[in-house]
């Protein structure tokens, strides 16, 4: 079975999320092809070729793919995905990690191929049967794909990353042009942080409405510094304007599953739990002992976060 895996990168570095998607793909088959679409992305190709177990790295390089706009990209992926790889075999699956980038692009690929997309899978039962969370993780659906080509996005927290070294795949340049001029990149405003990324961090500390305001989030930093943790927030904190949306953990934000998740001043709404309940150890700090977050926490501490956080930062 030939599987096409769409990589995510910034034209110079492969994003670690892709390594999780590759792992998921290995559970389906072992003939893996990596696709890199971008501009001046030779370095990414070299990096990708070192990943173990890859047959070939396909590279489509042109200035019109510099900003990875969905309209151009989806046409490239659909054309390659519908075509033939080595030995005249047709791709049976197209995999990608369920990042905001893939969420933007992959459904467009699926529609171009007239097939469904199975979003955000958490487990693989067989080559055509997968599990995914629905209703904010309050139910798990087992679904079977009836399509010849299966377009699948993978929840990265549900699959470990494969090793990014030891392999020696062939790199093949392809010349495919889709410069549709439908959308145009203007600017990007990325949060610059020394901290690990939320979805990959081993420790995450998140603040909720109980933080009171945006400035108080600096209290989380003291603890985060000691634990090399990423900082997250509940939707309530984002809605209240304390912090930006890219910090949101939950059904409508990011799904995280670190070794340690510390929820501070978070009541534990269903939609927040959906984003963190697969964490290995959950700690809840809240002054309301009735807060629902305590019902999912391994360790609960009832107390005022303005006392607890400085003390915690000091002891650690």
């Amino acid at each position: 079975m030939a599987i096409l895996i769409c990589t995510e990168h910034d034209n110079s570095q492969l994003k670690p999320e892709t390594l999780h998607a590759i792992n998921a793909a290995t559970q389906v088959g072992d003939e893996l092809y990596l696709l890199i679409v971008g501009y001046q992305c030779q370095r990414v190709a070299e990096q990708a070729a070192k990943i173990q177990g890859i047959v070939k790295v396909l590279v489509v390089d042109d200035s019109c793919y510099q900003h990875h706009l969905a309209e151009n990209l989806s046409n490239v992926i659909a054309e390659i995905g519908a075509g033939y790889c080595n030995n005249n075999a047709q791709y049976t699956h197209i995999f990608a990690a369920a990042t905001s980038h893939a969420k933007n692009t992959m459904p467009r690929v699926a529609a171009l191929l007239d097939v469904a997309q199975i979003s955000d899978i958490t487990s693989i039962e067989s080559e055509d049967t997968f599990q995914r969370a629905i209703y904010a993780g309050n139910a798990i659906a087992k679904v079977k794909s009836l399509d010849e080509t299966k377009v699948i996005t993978v929840r990265t927290t549900a699959f470990d990353a494969v090793l990014g070294q030891g392999g020696q795949a062939i790199i093949e340049q392809l010349d495919i042009m889709y410069n549709l001029h439908l959308s145009e990149f203007i600017s990007e405003d990325l949060t610059v942080s020394e901290r690990p990324e939320l979805t990959g961090a081993k420790v995450v500390i998140s603040g909720g409405r109980g933080m009171g305001n945006g400035e108080n989030f600096t209290l989380l930093e003291g603890v985060a510094d000691k634990l090399d943790a990423a900082i997250g927030a509940s939707r309530a904190a984002v809605d209240a304007g304390y912090v930006s949306n890219d910090m949101q953990v939950g059904q409508t934000g990011k799904i995280v599953a670190p070794d340690l998740y510390i929820a501070v001043g978070i009541s534990g709404a269903i939609q927040h739990l959906a984003g963190m309940k697969d964490s290995k150890i959950i700690v809840a700090i809240n002054k309301d002992e009735e807060a629902p977050i305590f019902s999912v926490a391994d360790y609960g501490l009832v107390g005022d976060l303005f006392d607890v956080l400085p003390e915690l930062a000091q002891i650690l």
Partner: protein, 249 residues
């Protein structure tokens, strides 16, 4: 500009869904239903674009059984001009919904389609992107800001790690993220007025769209519940437990 907004009837977001004992699906009997929160944001954005003079008319569409007309009325009460109900069974797959919507967009010649980025039941996050693909439209997904400049639509998008701003050539599909706006409440006079606004009913057959099943749902089960752990009495005790018991720090 004529705007089309697609909306979905889903379980009220405050409610926790239960799985049927036979694991065939979730149990939605006698459960309060509502407009999907992201769809509500989409409706609000369309109404604001009309208020600012960018849009001339707003049409709301929903696909499903008869009760989804309640959600169409909700949208009409928020300021939408008229509704289209595509009557068919509930819970069609995203691709089928996109195909039905594409037909309506072609018939209505709308230049902008706004949808919620995902529904809180199936959590797929697909329909808008699929619709854009079928129509060959540009797309601005997970929008937190939308404005018209010359003949372009400037969309700020929520992406991993921050924001991205792109310019879309019209016609376009936009999907709403949380921070796009804060939806208004419908006033009583507007709710009354909405009752007299027209809702056209059509069917997949009348639209000449053939629906096909691509996914079979084999079962639905409840997730393994986490159980509550222990309460600690001090920060010191917490740190000790994390170090020595859980061994995560």
């Amino acid at each position: 500009m004529k705007i089309l907004v697609a909306v979905k009837r889903v379980i009220d977001f405050n409610l926790k869904v239960r799985v049927k004992p036979d694991n065939s699906d979730v149990d939605l009997t006698n459960v309060k239903m509502a407009l999907n929160p992201f769809c509500e944001i989409a409706v609000e954005e369309a109404v604001r674009l009309k208020e600012s003079g960018v849009a001339s008319e707003i049409i709301v569409v929903s696909v499903g059984s008869k009760p989804c007309q309640e959600q169409l009325r909700t949208a009409l009460a928020l300021g939408v001009d008229r509704g289209i109900h595509i009557e068919t069974e509930d819970n069609h797959e995203s691709l089928n919904i996109a195909k039905l919507l594409a037909k309506v967009v072609e018939q209505e010649q709308s230049e902008l389609v706004i949808l919620g980025k995902q529904s809180i039941d199936s959590d797929n996050n697909q329909t808008g992107q699929m619709l854009a693909a079928l129509l060959g439209f540009s797309q601005g997904t997970f929008a937190s800001k939308v404005e018209q400049k010359n003949n372009k639509l400037i969309v700020t998008r929520e992406i991993d790690g921050g924001l991205q701003t792109i310019a879309l050539t019209l016609p376009a599909v936009v999907t709403s993220d949380l921070r796009l706006n804060e939806p208004r409440y419908a006033s009583l006079p507007n709710i009354m007025k909405a009752k007299r606004k027209p809702i056209d009913v059509t069917t997949p057959e009348k639209l000449d769209v053939k629906l096909k099943s691509h996914i079979q749902q084999l079962s639905v089960s409840a997730p393994t519940e986490r159980t509550a752990g222990v309460m600690v009495n001090s920060v010191q005790e917490l740190v000790d437990k994390l170090k020595n018991e859980a061994k995560v720090i």
